[in-house]
Symmetry: D2
Subunit: 223 residues, 4 copies
């Protein structure tokens, strides 16, 4: 591991919050297969609404790009989210008895509003680096969670109703997405960063990580 | 009452949420003088952080203005907020033992993030009308709450620690601010609205009203 | 022709400017095959830089979308522009002796800056309808120009060096793109419009059309 | 002179463009008192329209601010522009036979659109530092032009119809405004900058300086 990575620095600076997020009870219960159906369903429903605004954040990244390469990366993720990912999510949710029509009509829960709009506002008020730092806890955190659950002896292997979820985030496709996001942060830091920005970037990363904690907790509160 | 007012329409369309907001237990306890100190202090602290982003929303209104009149109105409110209002708030908070240095350093609570960033994102993604509709529950709601508490027989008159707060929002200065906001909505509706927008405007108003409910509840949760 | 179409109304309200744009000498000389090489090359170079910001406008449309359908439409155009269209443009420019590396390094000419940033700023300050009205003169105008040149007896058929350009914009693929843009304006007008907005929309459309005139003139000035 | 200043670096990196801007024939003729009335009137008219969007840029700075100090600075300039400065400009224009009603109704000329929207888009897509770098050629350049004309032996002292204009920008009030802008750039660079950003900042500064050249030329073209 290359210690000069911006992501590693951000994670180390927010170790306590990062641990609360990636080792949250929602995550542990998911691994153990003990998470209440109702908690997971609420999470899935809110995640549908979350994805809509998450996609908007990548559209914003397209608007904010200076280079054709950055624009193409933003376009690829934006398109993947509104086309492939939304459809995969809807199909997965169908397996849990949730329909797209129902999910579209649901109100956003407070933590969904807080996280999505924080990212969008931070990205709009700041620059492309601020935006991607605000997105990183989600993108990279899920990869770490997937990997950890996949390797953790406490994870229920047989008959875990959440096995597909774990496999998706632990799988090579998603791990590569997260790795690319980490590399992109370094590229942006080289082009737009500097020592003086670090405090502000850490504040953004910490706030986004806390909002992820609240997102898990929102699910658990419905257990 | 002039029934054609946009604000009246929005409020009527969200009657249930509006009632939960303007008659919230936080508000009732404030009127009765029974609200826990700790609840009010948490509210004041978060309101300080709220005001910073609320001011940004009026700066955004300045950016979004088409006419010099709209720009001047936005500039007046933006300046009033960051100069006069922030200082008044800090002075008032000092009476409750809170210092500006402490408040600046506090993390934003989830409901503070949710409400402020929702307004900013709705305003940025939409137009000046969307922005002002998202702001209206706060501006106009506080005037209605102040007036109601001022007139309610249940309100404690003597020795109510929150008497100043009630008097401020019930007073003519704040009532005029709210009245001007209501008129501004009608002006914007005439210039930018249409029947087809009503559903979307109601959704924005409802979401903002719900986020106000959550803001009161956040205070009460610290009681 | 359905006279209630927003686009028809806008075009009729700006008839004089629309005529100056769609029947500009640059266009006439292109049809006659008499346009100077140098004029066309400067146009192609600036159009490359134009396309980058034009793509950003569709990313902005993605950010500004309220519905998944609008987001998908924005994502499809944004992706098509930065992937397919940019590559087609680069290949076409290669036929005129222009390389992508050279075009990337060129400074934007005044009219390129004016048009692209006007659209982006109008779209950011206003809403999705303002944005698409600002984009319409380009999208729909080129289809009309292509069709007109294709049908005009004055157009040189044999040996016209600009025959491919005309064929592309006169062809069914591009005509369908323009038709979809016209329909989208009506959909947005129904959802977000109203009589009161018409003056402002006409001003936006007129300004964008004038900026298209200046874009052609910029090419001709290099003849 | 402190060579580490960001502004000095930007100016040095764009020496050729800066010279074309600050020593433009429009400026020289203004100093010599030989500038055609019609050129100056067109400049004043477009400067009125320019100021409206320039004010929006400071509102945008307010939206983009992270700190209360930055917000207060933005609010002060935004308010000063839409209140004091617009009124002073209108009064000055009245002396040249131009009324506010007429100026409001004029279409923006291409170079006015290009410069104002470039600044707004650069500021929105980038961060507060990008925005202030895009604004700097205007703010600081006018101070340098005023000072130079005031000191230049070639400047007509007696009976120069543009003496008031020169005196305003050469005067201590405006010089202090420019000095504060230079200091603010250094503050933002320390907080948000880094070596990797320099190329991009220079490109922004150069583009804005070129757009100032075009703004002078627009006036001269009406001579």
């Amino acid at each position: 591991m290359q210690t000069a990575r911006l992501f590693d620095h951000l994670k180390a600076a927010c170790g306590w919050e990062w641990n609360r997020y990636t080792r949250h009870d929602f995550v542990r219960q998911l691994g153990a297969g003990t998470l209440a159906d109702s908690a997971f369903r609420h999470y899935l429903q809110q995640d549908y609404l979350f994805l809509l605004h998450f996609a908007r954040a990548y559209a914003l990244a397209g608007y904010k790009s200076d280079t054709l390469a950055d624009m193409r990366a933003a376009a690829a993720t934006f398109s993947a989210l509104v086309d492939t990912e939304m459809k995969l999510h809807v199909r997965y949710c169908a397996g849990w008895g949730l329909t797209e029509v129902e999910m579209e009509a649901l109100p956003e829960d407070g933590p969904t509003v807080a996280y999505t709009r924080f990212v969008l506002d931070r990205g709009m008020a700041g620059d492309l680096l601020d935006l991607h730092v605000a997105l990183a806890p989600c993108i990279v955190g899920y990869a770490e969670i997937g990997r950890w659950l996949d390797e953790d002896p406490a994870t229920l292997r047989d008959g875990n109703p959440y096995a597909d979820w774990i496999a998706m985030y632990a799988g090579p496709d998603y791990q590569n997405v997260a790795e690319a996001a980490i590399e992109n942060l370094d590229s942006l830091m080289a082009r737009r960063g500097g020592e003086g920005r670090m405090d502000s970037l850490v504040r953004t990363f910490r706030a986004a990580t806390e909002l992820e904690v609240a997102f898990w907790q929102m699910g658990l509160n419905r257990a």
